[in-house]
Symmetry: C2
Subunit: 157 residues, 2 copies
């Protein structure tokens, strides 16, 4: 049985893949993979995802250089969630943080806003160009954009 | 702005919530929450999820006693994935492991099967009754069952 056949893909042929830093154990990001992206991740030992908006495979770090080297891939009990332990070659979040999980749900700030507790490690504008600072994701920066959007109705993944 | 309104829910009103052990930093499990489950998690400081199969709120540990006490809740950059750091009062996986991620994708075993690398910490049959050993999830054990199933077509979450 080929590796890929062990995964229980969703109706769109996708599964979420969590990246966790193998040393700090920090959860870095969550994105979607299809068969092709997972096969490429296994083959190259670097994290690849499936871009639902662009409908293409993309390599994490392809524009930023912040490649995530995959050291181990684990599956949950229902084989529908993937956990990749990585050696992180740079901050995983396109907003400049090591982890995408840089804000707390509570307590909120004085104006009811989410509070950032992490330190920004790079300037997205410098790494990705002006588009990133305008809130328009591109290149590998859209990894976690609308993680839930692919779940809607009969829309394509 | 209420806490809950910060989340970007999917079209089914759900978001994935990852549980991570705050001490060992082990990723324990992934399940779905809706507004009610997240509000209950915040209010009670114990992980609650939304069961899509039973269409009801459930508390992790309600039958096993393996409650997951929530110490911190973080959101990713797109506010559509939730990361809860927990103090784990018992193995999180209904199959008897501390983490649901107890198997590796590769290398496969001699018969092409997924290899379990973790130690089982309890007997599911004893904790959940015979149904668990028959592969039928029930009670809080269905947390990660078909994480991807709710994404299908126009089916209800």
């Amino acid at each position: 049985m080929p590796l890929i056949d062990h995964i229980k893909w969703n109706p769109h042929g996708l599964a979420p893949m969590i990246l966790q830093d193998e040393t700090s154990r920090e959860v870095l990001m969550v994105g979607w993979v299809n068969e092709e992206a997972l096969a490429k991740t296994v083959e190259t030992k670097t994290a690849h995802f499936w871009s639902r908006s662009r409908k293409k495979l993309w390599k994490k770090g392809e524009s930023s250089g912040h490649v995530q080297v995959v050291k181990d891939i684990r599956l949950d009990c229902d084989v529908d969630v993937i956990l990749a332990l990585v050696e992180s070659k740079g901050p995983a979040c396109h907003e400049g943080f090591r982890s995408c999980f840089f804000r707390r749900l509570e307590p909120l700030g004085p104006d009811g806003e989410l509070v950032t507790f992490a330190e920004r490690e790079f300037d997205p504008g410098e790494v990705y160009g002006d588009k990133a600072t305008g809130g328009i994701h591109h290149g590998d920066t859209e990894s976690t954009e609308n993680v839930n959007a692919g779940n809607r109705g009969t829309a394509s993944p």
